[in-house]
């Protein structure tokens, strides 16, 4: 079972570069999320989506963009990388049935901006 798959696992970016973190899920989940986790901290919600074509901001959206053209895919775009975006990024998904959303996470993407 693949579940939530995100790539790349590790990436080093120079300040000002751009990149896209890819995320795909094979569980036919409606809801998808991007979180970031700084060292020793909890997860902060960046963006989320309740279905294809619908996205919304979370707690820390600045410096990021997302799109949801299909149910399966939810890429996260960093346009002008900054050192403050050095973090571990987790993509997640949930079914969203009946108001109960157990979230399933990917393995994480470690991003360093230098």
């Amino acid at each position: 079972n693949a579940g939530v798959t995100q790539t790349p696992k590790f990436r080093i970016l120079k300040i000002g570069q751009s990149m896209t973190l890819q995320c795909t899920q094979d569980m036919n989940h409606n809801y998808m999320y991007w979180y970031r986790q700084d060292p020793g901290m909890g997860l902060k919600l960046i963006y989320y989506s309740v279905g294809a074509g619908i996205t919304d901001k979370g707690e820390v959206p600045n410096g990021y963009n997302v799109s949801r053209s299909t149910t399966e895919d939810f890429p996260l775009r960093l346009e002008l990388a900054a050192p403050s975006q050095t973090s571990v990024y987790f993509c997640a998904s949930s079914y969203g049935q009946g108001g109960v959303n157990t979230i399933y996470f990917g393995e994480g993407s470690w991003l360093t901006v230098v």
């Binding site: 939530v4 901290m41 997860l43 919600l45 707690e59 969203g96 157990t102 979230i103 990917g106």
Partner: protein, 112 residues
């Protein structure tokens, strides 16, 4: 926005003892809570959840207690094992169930 926090950043227990990890939340309208376990270098994994219309829910070796009066959540792990060593997060869903807010986590160290 909602706020979820944990009382203890680290907890060390002896193998075989019971562990209790605590969590406070601030939004009295929150309706759904989840505990996650995160092992080093991995994504969070679901442990157990509870709705606000319940006070207690039991799983395999784990129990979650919810006290809505004081907005407090706890995770009890029975007969703690070395494999339980990890960081544990509580998460709270906002009123729309679309967004989850996570606490900063408690690191559980199980001593053999």
């Amino acid at each position: 926005g909602e706020s979820v926090g944990l009382h203890l950043p680290t907890l060390s227990v002896q193998e075989g003892d019971n562990s209790i990890i605590n969590c406070a939340y601030s939004n009295s309208a929150s309706d759904y809570f989840i505990w996650y376990k995160q092992e080093s270098g991995k994504g969070p994994q679901f442990i157990i959840d509870i709705r606000s219309n319940m006070d207690k829910r039991q799983g395999q070796r784990v129990t979650v207690l919810l006290n809505k009066t004081v907005k407090h959540l706890s995770l009890q792990i029975a007969a703690t094992q070395p494999g339980d060593s990890a960081v544990y997060f509580c998460a709270e869903s906002g009123p729309d169930f679309n967004k989850f807010y996570f606490g900063s986590g408690t690191k559980l160290n199980v001593k053999p």
